[in-house]
């Protein structure tokens, strides 16, 4: 149980810099998810914390102590790998006991710790099996069991669910979360899947091209993304974004885009080139024919919801496609014309040049 701090972390491979001055704190007992597209540097950051990569610049602290020069084994961390990394020539029990065996712990302690971890993860019947005899989900649990036996200060997860099928992933997500609630160990979790991030994290760190785009709780990131990247990365289906011009006068504002006027929150100067964003779930279909006109292209009913693909602005010369998600069923058919209603408080306005949130 410990806090983790990154101070001005930089990483370069030869002349190529891949991480540019990252700094943030993780509180004791927190579950923090590092999320971002491939190549953003999240795994590299995790591996620097683990001691598997050299730190080119800056400091990493665990429990207030700088660990840059410490070997992995002295940092009191445990890691769960994407490919489980179980020792093929050892049984499940031996895999889990390995770290204790290296420290020459006595049999009693080893057995006790291994059995305790096995119980938590329902691995008791599997202790004498070999990894090759186990399913993917079972192997992942053994990998977690190995980490639990260590009783470390920090748990590190490197995309542990990527090799599992969708259904198993959902089940394992819940298990990992439950484990964290039970053990309350500080956890750093890396994934490229924003749904995993949203469902599991206390706080999310969104990374992109070696920098942090935003840190916040899942709902903070969802409701108030700080920039265009986070806005489009978080949320599924992703946010609708169009380019337009901000018009602000008196106490109200709107954005001109796709030949229509889109309600926007106040903030930002008049005439600014912006990106206007609105989530598919924040667009309503007006029953009364008032609102922004759109032509239906595709209707995808998913049972509880209906996803519509719309073409907007065909008459204006600027065209764009929007996705709208409505609850329940609709009678709408392809080629129908519908009208859209948007509330200003649900809209997100980003500076077209910097991508940063304007309002």
């Amino acid at each position: 149980m410990a806090s983790v701090a990154f101070r001005n972390i930089e990483k370069a491979y030869g002349k190529v810099k891949v991480i540019h001055g990252i700094g943030f704190d993780i509180h004791d007992g927190e579950f923090v998810v590092l999320v971002g597209p491939s190549g953003c540097g999240k795994s590299t950051l995790l591996r620097m914390l683990a001691g598997l990569e050299e730190i080119s610049g800056g400091e990493i602290l665990i429990d207030g102590k700088v660990v840059n020069e410490l070997e992995s084994k002295d940092r009191d961390i445990a890691m769960v790998f994407q490919s489980y990394a179980l020792y093929p020539h050892m049984t499940v029990g031996e895999n889990m006991a390995f770290s204790l065996r290296l420290r020459k712990a006595d049999k009693a302690t080893t057995d006790e710790r291994v059995n305790k971890a096995a119980k938590i993860l329902n691995l008791d019947p599997l202790l004498d099996r070999y990894p090759r005899e186990l399913s993917g989900g079972q192997r992942q649990r053994v990998a977690m069991g190995r980490a639990i036996v260590r009783d470390p200060k920090v748990f590190l997860f490197d995309e542990p669910l990527s090799n599992l099928d969708a259904k198993l992933r959902v089940a394992m997500r819940a298990e990992i979360k439950a484990l964290h609630q039970r053990l309350k160990t500080t956890t750093v979790y890396v994934t490229h899947d924003q749904i995993e991030a949203m469902t599991m994290a206390d706080r999310i760190v969104v990374m992109h091209d070696g920098i942090i785009e935003q840190i916040g709780t899942p709902l903070e990131l969802f409701d108030r993304p700080a920039n265009l990247f986070v806005a489009q990365f978080i949320g599924s289906p992703s946010m609708n974004v169009v380019q337009g011009t901000l018009r602000s006068a008196g106490g109200s504002a709107h954005v001109d885009a796709l030949g229509a006027q889109w309600p926007a929150p106040v903030g930002g100067r008049d005439g600014l080139a912006v990106h206007y964003g609105i989530r598919p779930t924040d667009i309503a279909l007006a029953a009364d024919g008032q609102g922004i006109a759109a032509r239906v292209i595709v209707v995808e009913p998913t049972g509880a919801e209906t996803e519509l693909l719309l073409q907007i602005g065909e008459s204006s010369g600027q065209e764009g496609q929007f996705v709208v998600v409505t609850h329940g069923r609709t009678n709408v058919q392809p080629d129908d014309t519908v009208h859209l209603r948007v509330e200003a408080r649900h809209a997100h306005v980003f500076d077209a040049g910097t991508g940063k949130r304007v309002a």
Partner: protein, 285 residues
């Protein structure tokens, strides 16, 4: 009518194959059968030209095992030398090659690529070319009348290929295993002993066997480096049989057969490993 035509085609195909198969069979078997034939024949039947001796006898083997002939005076000692040297070469080569492959492949030691290339280079230079300077070198090191000179020479010759094979096999082990072990707290030696070696056992067996057989089968280096009769390997002793004008050929064949049995047995037992290992050496798959 159709059935008859089809079976005629089959027959003619088989005939064509036999046309190749029979010569191949004869070509392959004749020198070996000849060896076997005269090992179990008495002295006189050499001139008889029969395919199977009139009175097959184990007399020759008895002579060999009892060391009853001048050339066989030290048979058991020489057999023991061959065995001891082969095993020593196998074990030492295994040690040298395994540590080097581990350092190059898993520890990614600096200059590992260079060492690998140096080893590969040594492997390709014909051993017969290295023999002359090696002989003088052993003289310089004072090892000439010492069986260890042969052991060390064979270790030198066998190591490069072994390192190469082990490195190829090592590279196939997933990286995360080393990382997981490091995080679990393993030191480099613990990683080597508890994770690397257990996972490499099949390759280690193949490589150790290769080195062992290489030493057992070696003639030239034994011929150059060993001179005392009690130091000789059986291979060199066999060659010495030829010194006389009136060689006891049937004894030579019997001794040769004894000498040939262990490698043949090992090759056939480990066929899969030997083929796999050696084809990996020359084929870039």
């Amino acid at each position: 009518m159709k059935a008859k035509r089809m079976s005629w085609k089959k027959v003619s195909n088989e005939a064509k194959l036999l046309l190749i198969g029979i010569p191949v069979f004869l070509w392959t078997i004749i020198p070996v059968y000849h060896l076997f034939l005269f090992a179990i024949s008495g002295r006189d039947s050499a001139t008889s030209g029969r395919l199977w001796p009139k009175e097959p006898t184990l007399q020759n083997f008895e002579t060999v095992f009892m060391q009853k002939h001048y050339y066989l005076n030290h048979f058991w000692l020489q057999l023991g030398n061959s065995l001891m040297i082969a095993v020593a070469v196998g074990v030492i080569t295994l040690f040298v090659a395994t540590t080097a492959a581990f350092a190059i492949s898993r520890l990614k030691v600096r200059g590992g690529r260079t060492v690998m290339n140096m080893a590969l280079f040594t492997y390709f230079i014909p051993a017969a070319f290295l023999a002359v300077p090696m002989y003088r070198t052993m003289a310089t090191y004072g090892l000439l009348n010492n069986r260890w000179s042969l052991v060390l020479a064979m270790v030198t010759i066998a190591s490069p290929y072994c390192i190469w094979v082990l490195k190829q096999a090592s590279d196939k082990l997933p990286w995360e295993l080393d990382e997981a072990a490091r995080i679990d707290g393993a030191t480099p030696l613990q990683l080597f002993r508890l994770v690397y070696v257990p996972l490499m056992v099949p390759s280690l067996v193949a490589v150790g066997t290769y080195a062992l057989l290489l030493a057992w089968n070696e003639y030239l280096y034994g011929f150059l480096l060993l001179s005392k009769e009690t130091d000789l390997t059986l291979a060199v002793a066999l060659g010495n049989f030829l010194a006389a004008d009136d060689s006891p050929w049937e004894l030579l064949m019997a001794t040769g057969l004894i000498y040939a049995l262990p490698p043949a047995a090992i090759y056939y037992a480990f066929k899969r490993y030997m083929v796999g290992g050696l084809t990996a050496g020359a084929v870039k798959s």
